[in-house]
Amino acid sequence: MSNESIRAAFESGNGKAFIPFITCGDPDLEATKALVFALQDAGADIIELGIPFSDPTAEGPVIQGANLRALSGGVTTDAILEMVAEIRAQVRIPLVFMTYGNIVYHYGIERFCERAEDAGIDGLILPDTPYEEKDEFAPACAAHGIAYISLIAPTSDERVAMIAAEAQGFVYCVSSLGVTGTRDAITTDIDALVARVRSVTDVPVAVGFGISSPEQAAAMAAKSDGAIVGSALVKLVAEHGAEAADPVARQARKLAEAVHAL
């Protein structure tokens, strides 16, 4: 069951998880496979796999670019599910999908969850599906042992308790206003957000959006249970294309070490 595998992943290090994100099919699925193995070897505790969407409204330019490259390369949801099924036995850590509501809805929510379960997926993150709409997706996820991972934001205020009380897998804490992408500084009171979550649940909390350096990752993980890094790694994929596994692994190792050294 995915809640357990995700919890175990948070506990395996020193209670702090390093969670990298990559977009599947950027630039092709062979490259994605190599990246998953490289990230695992570099010390990732969970990997977020993005299923590309044509119009990713929560993403900044870096991940928008990754979505575009992946779709231009012809990747599809079916091909991604096959790729995950193919490599799953060689990956020890939880894999969670991050995509947009329409990708799952249009595929058929039940059909998507069934195939994701068969492929060995542990969780699902839909950044455009808030608490109010989650009942459309969460029951099918639960029926297939997939953790429906909820997000909280700096603007969530009194909504945090309501969201956290029903949280599965981990709580994805959005560090700042705006879309994904690297930032020089994170000014949100993360301590207060995390405290609100912890007052209602013991589900782990990981912070994402805007984290690029090992120092930032360590600082955010120190305030929570983990750090999520996307754009900073996807930038390396944009730069190195099919040869990105080594440079991504080098950076991921630094990030993982910083998080695990806490």
Partner: protein, 396 residues
């Protein structure tokens, strides 16, 4: 008609990032507080009448009626509003609401530029900061409107992601709104997006059908048999339909942009070619592929060049209460030219899609039938593009 979560049947909803949830909840609460507030209503009414030139005329198109040789045709002249389109109705309503909410800054998307111009106009009128996001492709097609917005003090931001058209401008506005919420209102221009926007925009455009009712009763002593309007996101159409929804004898027809034809990929006819999906905050129909990737759409009209449709239209379509037809570029350009030479009225190319359908049905109807077609905007902005379509290059 709407339940508390903004559903029209299964359509609508609030599919947006958590970061925006409290903003839309705050908007819904403010709208609920002010929509029936006498002061707010009086203030909006005074701007609509004294500034925007409402009520707009319901004009009997005598030469068009005679020329087509069938039903009596009336034009609802939203093109005579200040700024030349129906968009000012919603822009005034939302900007006044935003002011009451303490917002000082407006952001908006625009396709043809009409909504951008309307938003820039109310921002100047009410002394608010304004940023409009517009696809780079559309900025080229509608250079005059870009100038008008800048002239009124609005900053126009070109959006070059995706197809560089209306859908990308909406996506960029949503991204911008998540960056800055506390002082900023997203003045969405159509009856789409997350709840409560489809309801708010509908209500601020429903003056159109309220007036058509009164004006048609005054002129003809009865309601029209047909109300016809063009549909992109669908704001002028929902405004034209709304007060007739309970009158089963009034046929409601929305005209989508077929582009080069609904059997081609170069189309924007959502209900005629699309399927159910979730995008831009709502569940509705969208032009998309088998994996739910939103399709690049095409129409000669920048204002109808959108891959989705407002959720209330999706519901009117599902229930059969309204009918949605597709009009090609060719048919719309013919109608643009026909109305210009027959009535001396140059329609927006968007509105010409509705006129084109009227040109098809009016000759088949008896002369005692009444057709009202909403002329959502004026066509000055389109003249250069229409000339180009006919192979003539003129300087704007």
């Amino acid at each position: 008609m709407t339940n508390p979560r903004g559903r029209f049947g299964d359509h609508g909803g609030q599919y947006i990032p958590e970061t925006l949830m409290n903003a839309v909840i705050e908007l819904e609460e403010a709208y609920d507080r002010y929509k029936d507030d006498p002061d707010f209503k009086a203030e909006l009414r005074s701007y609509l009448n004294d500034y925007a030139n409402r009520p707009s005329l319901l004009y009997f198109a005598e030469r068009m009626t005679a020329g087509l040789g069938g039903a009596k045709i009336y034009l609802k002249r939203e093109d005579l509003n200040h700024t030349g389109a129906h968009k000012i109705n919603n822009a005034l309503g939302q900007a006044l609401l935003a002011k009451r909410m303490g917002k000082t800054r407006l952001i908006a998307e625009t396709g043809a530029g009409q909504h951008g111009v309307a938003t820039a106009t109310v921002a100047a009128l009410l002394g608010m900061e304004c940023h409009v996001y517009m696809g780079v492709e559309d900025m080229e097609r509608q250079a005059l409107n870009v100038y008008r917005m800048r002239l009124m003090g609005t900053e126009v931001h070109g959006v070059d992601s995706g197809t560089g058209t209306l859908k990308d401008a909406v996506s960029e506005c949503m991204r911008e709104w998540t960056k800055r919420i506390s002082d900023t209102h997203y003045l969405l221009g159509s009856c789409m997006g997350p709840h409560p926007f489809p309801t708010i925009v509908r209500d601020f455009q429903a003056f159109i059908s309220e007036e058509i009712r009164e004006q048609c009763l005054a002129a003809e002593g009865r309601l029209p048999d047909y109300v016809v309007a063009c549909v992109g996101g669908g704001s002028n159409a929902i405004g034209s339909f709304y007060h007739f929804i309970d009158d089963a004898d009034v046929r409601l027809i929305g005209c989508e942009a077929a582009g080069r034809g609904i059997d081609t990929w170069e189309t924007a006819a959502t209900l005629n070619t699309g399927s159910l999906g979730i995008f831009h905050g709502m569940k509705s129909y969208f032009c998309q592929d088998e994996y739910g990737q939103i399709a690049p759409v095409y129409s000669i009209s920048a204002g109808l060049d959108y891959p989705g449709i407002g959720p209330e239209h999706a519901w009117l379509h599902d229930t059969g209460r309204a009918q949605y037809v597709a009009i090609t570029d060719d048919e719309a350009v013919d109608a643009f030219e026909y109305l210009s030479r027959t009535e001396g009225i140059i329609p927006a190319i968007e509105s010409a899609h509705a006129l084109a359908h009227v040109m098809k049905i009016a000759p088949t109807l008896p002369s005692d039938q009444i057709v009202v077609v909403t002329l959502s905007g004026r066509g000055d902005k389109d003249c250069a593009a229409m000339a180009r379509y006919r192979g003539e290059d003129i300087d704007e």
